[in-house]
């Protein structure tokens, strides 16, 4: 059996955790919020338009500044089904 030189062994020991870490970041199944974990995200308090007055005021400021309105709506309700 061929003995691995010390510097290669060190490189290997550093590379393996680095690859494992990068692999974890690259794998969507490890980093995304799963569909069954979205209870908190669908809560009423997570809605950006939960306060109609604040929404209207924000929209007025946006219109006054940008001379444009709307176009900020998105489909879906957090269920992952739309």
């Amino acid at each position: 059996m061929k003995i691995i030189p010390f510097h290669r062994l060190v490189a290997l020991l550093l590379t393996v955790p680095a690859l494992a870490a990068l692999g974890g970041c690259a794998n969507p199944s490890l980093v995304r919020v799963h569909p069954w974990e979205r209870a908190t995200l669908t809560d009423y308090t997570m809605r950006p338009e939960r306060d109609p007055l604040a929404t209207a005021m924000g929209e007025h400021i946006y219109f006054s500044r940008e001379s444009a309105s709307g176009g900020r709506g998105v489909g879906g309700n957090g269920c992952g089904c739309n």
Binding site: V16, L19, G23, W36, N77, C79, G80, N82
Partner: protein, 168 residues
């Protein structure tokens, strides 16, 4: 093959295995035995089973329950079993939903998310139609009202028409 090459080959295999981990369940695969997770599993052997994953916070799930209740009424006598698996973390929310909807079919709560993780459900709700052999035959992501209902009914009719021996 030299020793370092063997190590790299092993690492590559491990990486490939990790990337394949938790693949979504597709048609043709064997669905996990419901008896492993359910407190009182209905006898599904030789029957068509519809397994629905739902949650009380999911609006389309609420819409799907009356449709499944009607499916239960129409097809239960012909051999359809409906099992609705809740992924609710909050047991009170689950209980309130069940009390409000009064489902006529089996309802469970997958409290430790064991089944939903094994199946790797891609969206809420998702329903799996299993053939008589326990294999997944059709998968429906989301519930789109009459369209989904019509599709499920066509698929149930197809599965009911198959004999046990003819099932793939």
């Amino acid at each position: 093959m030299s020793y370092p090459k063997k190590i790299w080959a092993g690492l590559l295999s491990f990486g490939t295995m990790l990337s394949c981990l938790r693949a979504e369940m597709k048609a043709g695969e064997v669905f996990p035995a419901l008896s492993e997770v359910g407190p009182a599993s209905p006898a599904t052997a030789g029957k068509i089973t519809l397994v629905d994953f739902w949650a009380s916070w999911c609006a389309p799930c609420k819409e799907s329950f009356p449709a499944y209740a009607q499916l239960q009424t129409d097809y239960a006598a012909r051999g359809l079993i409906i099992v609705a698996v809740s992924v609710d973390e909050n047991p009170d929310a689950f209980a309130r939903f069940v009390k409000k909807m009064h489902p006529a079919f089996t309802v469970w709560r997958d409290e430790d998310h064991r089944l939903v993780q094994r199946v790797n459900v891609p969206a809420m709700p998702t329903c799996y139609l299993l053939g008589r052999d326990g294999r997944v035959r059709f998968v429906h992501q989301g519930f789109h009202g009459a369209q989904t209902d019509r599709q499920i009914r066509q698929e149930i009719d197809l599965l009911l028409a198959e004999k046990l021996s003819a099932a793939p």
